[in-house]
């Protein structure tokens, strides 16, 4: 077992621990903090796969901005005892678990049976430069649409959260 495998196992453990915490904590504030742990694990995977820019974006946007947004929203809509805020539906939890297990089993079997013929790319490729050329080259329209989408979403979120004026 080399260093790369060890890093994969540790990061996978952190990520899955965080993900399981999201669905198993009964206090939703703890679930949100567990979600941050999972995001940080995924950011570690990005760093491991030579996607440093995406790893930093993941830490800033997901572990920073989105988690703070979620925790603020939780504080605003807390309506009962905090320890009862993240309970599962008594019937749907079994259906959900069954469907999730079926999904993981089928897709996992398909992945095990597939043969992929790729070789890992060279670790010293200039990924950030390539990404910049793509974003401002062939995919510039997607980039601009993403900018407009963010603007519209921010304006829409402010209007929705502020509420309409009573006539």
């Amino acid at each position: 077992m080399n260093m790369n495998d060890l890093v994969f196992i540790v990061l996978g453990f952190i990520t899955l621990l965080g993900a399981v915490g999201v669905v198993s904590f009964t206090n939703i504030v703890h679930a949100a903090l567990s979600l941050v742990l999972s995001f940080l694990g995924v950011a570690g995977f990005y760093f491991q796969m030579q996607a440093e820019f995406l790893g930093l974006v993941q830490i800033m946007v997901y572990a920073g901005a989105i988690s703070v947004l979620i925790i603020f929203a939780i504080m605003l809509v807390m309506d009962r005892d905090p320890n009862q805020t993240n309970i599962s539906h008594p019937v749907n939890r079994w259906w959900g678990g069954l469907i999730a297990l079926l999904f993981a089993g089928i897709i996992g079997f398909a992945i095990r049976e597939s043969r992929f013929t790729g070789q890992a790319g060279s670790p010293d490729a200039d990924r950030v430069g390539q990404l910049a050329e793509l974003v401002l080259g062939n995919y510039v329209i997607a980039f601009e649409i993403a900018a407009i989408l963010l603007l519209v979403a921010v304006v829409g979120a402010i209007i929705l959260a502020k509420g309409a004026k009573e006539q």
Binding site: V23, A73, N86, G97, I99, G163
Partner: protein, 102 residues
């Protein structure tokens, strides 16, 4: 030896945890958090495919970046909707949001 398939398997497990959360949770914020888990696992797949199968350019990372942007917009609007509906119904339980059901 850790390879491409292990990343795909890990992303599958992450996605399955997200499916379980979406289907079983009653709190609307918890459902949104589970959706974020699923989006993260898809991003992990994009980056792994870019690393192991399509290695000559960074288009997989670009897709992951755009997914992150859309996820940020989705979370902002989703949480605003939850806050807005909480003001009317005094609840975040999805079972109480049956106004449009007939």
């Amino acid at each position: 030896m850790i390879g491409f398939q292990h990343y795909l398997l890990l992303a599958t497990v992450l996605f399955a945890v997200g499916i379980y959360g979406v289907l079983s949770k009653r709190n609307a914020v918890a459902v949104l958090m589970s959706v974020e888990l699923m989006l993260n696992s898809v991003n992990l797949n994009f980056v792994a495919i870019n690393r192991y199968l399509v290695t000559d350019h960074a288009v997989g990372q670009l897709f992951a970046l755009i997914v992150i942007v859309v996820a940020a917009a989705e979370v902002a609007v989703g949480l605003a909707l939850i806050i807005s509906i909480f003001r009317q119904r005094k609840s975040v339980n999805l079972n109480d949001f049956n106004l449009l059901k007939w």
